[in-house]
Amino acid sequence: MRSRNTLRIGALVFAGSLVLSGCLGAEQGGDGENQPVEIFGGITGTEEARLVEEAVAEIEEATGVDVQYQPSRDFTTIIRSRVRGGDAPDIALYPQPGLLLDMSSDITPLDDVDVGLDQVRETLIPGFLDSATKDGKVYGAPIDQAPKSLVWYPKKPFEQAGYQVPTTHQELLDLTERIKDDGETPWCIGIESGPDTGWPATDWLEDYVLRTAGPEAYDQWVNGELKFNSPEITEAAETVGEIMLTEGNVQGGGKAIVNTPFGESSERLFEDPPGCYLHRQASFITSFFPDKVQENLDEEAGVFVLPPVEDGYDGTPILGSGNFAALLNSENENAIKVMEYLISDKFGTPRYEAGGILSPHTTFDTSKYPDEVTQQIADQVNEADVFRFDGSDLMPAEVGTGSFWTGMVDWIGGRKDLDAVLSDIDESWPSS
């Protein structure tokens, strides 16, 4: 008899749970005016995601729409499968415009909806929107930016030693020599980044392609029209090699560069005595600096834009990256409203106030940035003649997140010579 009872209770629990999960599952929904908007993005990490949510709260207040931000570390993979599976979010934040354009058939061009694109075009840093434009249509707009052409130095020891901020490439090389003559290590460079190892080195090469061959050649290179083993790119790579691989410039040489995590290499600037005096990395590197430096960023850290090369492009180009917002569901009218705010120069204040990340709009009030260092970066970016998006994010994935990374690792680690590496990368470029 007892087992019968157990059975009955079991059946009851079972039936009850079916009903309940059915009810709980139906909690979401709503349509028309109150339709919520889902934003899906790759900006993760507790602190970062919190700031995005704060920024999203700002949108909710401004537009009166219910917005949910869904972060995922595997954004690149999941966005593809979600769209293919018919479960696309309303808005997606793409860290790579290359991927965005790759999926353009699922994205509503911003020219076709009322999101104030003309206004955005005027306030954005010139050239930024080009990275998300295909066949004359704009598929996404940036919501933030991190300039990459920056060289950081430990302010106090740098000034005590009497070093001057270089304004040309030759001065940069002279400074490097002088630091070596003083018995110190000039550069800290690290390109290790787990499965993404190599990306900081691709940034170096991109920066020098812009400086030696110029923006036009850069665009051709990124589009696959200019080969990696062309004289232009080879020359840029040799310029990078001169800094990275000259004996004594970096402690431990190429093998150590390949082995050192990029964040850790930046910390060495602030050792006592300094492990090095120069470090080239994007604005977001400040979050890797030791806590005591972050608290006093203006007093501890100095920064300058990687100087132009004498015989190269006449001007100071800025290389940068950022997240692009794209509209995947234009039927949700609230999503269009949110999009309009998201890509305007009004969005994102809580994030920018935390530092390291900048607004992509030249009209953003720079006094809202938390410290002089960030304000100084913003001014320099706004003054720059040319802005170009991180090329490896625009190249086909096989190259941009594959052979370009591994090629740089093989070259810098001394496993292959430069010519072999550049030809290998050309070979891996997809044919279609």
Binding site: G10, A11, V13, F14, S17, L18, L20, S21, L24, G25, E27, D74, T76, T77, R80, D102, G194, P195, T197, Q251, G252, G253, K255, A256, V258, N259, A397, E398, T401, G402, T406, V409, D410, G413, R415
Partner: protein, 326 residues
């Protein structure tokens, strides 16, 4: 909170549903006339399992094989192009070669290390044996990713002049060597072998437990008889003990072999396939996730599957023989 409740309810509903399904089917079958009940009943119980294996294993496998003949988006038929391309790429052949090395070295290494530990521990007191075995077995509790993270510190490299935090380099420099970037050093595939050590370290405990049990099952009469006939201990081990535990050795070898065929985690964490250490498991992930090239990724999996099948058949046969002689 709501999610947790939902998950709990889903589990309850799932388990309860399965239970109810069997109850109802059983009840229905019991209504049938006697002969039919006996005929149908086995299928009622094995049926759902077969359905699930078909839906979640056979169908995806066939679908993968199908996709391997299509382009990156699975839209255009390309015939054998994916296979031809892959087998023509030096980096893929290199990964294949590494896989072969792994397949030769790791299962053999695991069996030998496990055997040595099992035999030596057998000579200790019961307490000593248990302690030693527990320590050797401990790594089995660690995931591949966890183990790789630990071993990163063993092989860590810092340039000369900075403190060496890596165990191997600390020992190496203590004896006067210059710090070596072990993981980058692929002369004679040194780095690949260093990665294999991790897997051997992880799996030795498994081999030890099975082999130790087998050794204890060897009848003492056979060993004593050999001893009376004047055999040395080494002769006894290789000519009396080993033949009697051979089927266990094979089982351990094949199990580790299949595990090694699928190796991915260690490579992914330690090198990401750089420095000539790539294997096809890692290559598959790169093609699918990073490059979004479904066709090529499917082709890699199909090749892996084809390689596993003969091993599986051998293992099933071996298992049947063991059952038959029991």
């Amino acid at each position: 909170m709501l999610k947790a409740i939902n998950a709990l309810l889903a589990v309850l509903a799932g388990v309860g549903g399965g239970f109810a399904l069997y109850l109802i089917l059983n009840w229905l079958v019991e209504r049938l006339p006697g002969r039919w009940e006996d005929r149908i009943k086995p299928y009622i119980f094995i049926g759902p399992a077969i359905v699930f294996v078909t839906i979640f294993l056979v169908y995806p496998a066939l679908r993968t094989a199908y996709l391997s003949f299509f382009d990156d988006d699975g839209e255009e038929f390309v015939g054998l192009a994916n296979y031809v391309d892959l087998l023509g790429e030096s980096s893929f052949l290199n990964a294949l070669f590494n896989n072969v090395l792994w397949l030769i070295v790791v299962p053999a290494g695991v069996v030998i290390a496990g055997l040595i530990v099992a035999v030596l521990a057998d000579q200790l007191s019961t307490r000593g044996e248990n302690t030693v075995k527990s320590f050797i077995f401990l790594p089995m509790a660690i995931s591949f990713v966890g183990a790789s993270t630990i071993w990163r510190f063993v092989y860590a490299f810092e340039p000369e002049g900075r403190p060496q935090i890596g165990l191997l380099n600390a020992v190496w420099t203590f004896f006067g060597g210059d710090p070596v970037a072990w993981i980058q050093n692929d002369s004679f595939r040194l780095n690949s072998f260093l990665l294999m050590v991790i897997m051997i370290w992880l799996q030795t405990g498994f081999a030890m437990v099975l082999l130790s049990a087998a050794i204890k099952n060897v009848p003492t009469e056979t060993v004593e008889a050999a001893r009376i006939d004047g055999a040395s201990e080494i002769q006894i081990f290789f000519q009396v003990v080993v033949p009697q535990i051979w089927s266990t050795v094979v089982t351990v070898f094949v199990t580790v072999l299949i595990l090694t065929l699928k190796i991915f985690d260690i490579i992914y964490v330690m090198t990401g396939g750089r420095f000539n250490t790539d294997v096809i498991g890692n290559r598959f992930i790169t093609e699918l996730i990073n490059f979004g090239r479904d066709g090529r990724a499917s082709a890699i999996v199909v090749m892996l599957l084809v390689a596993v099948i003969p091993v599986m058949i051998y293992q099933v046969r071996q298992f049947r023989q063991m059952e038959a002689t029991r």
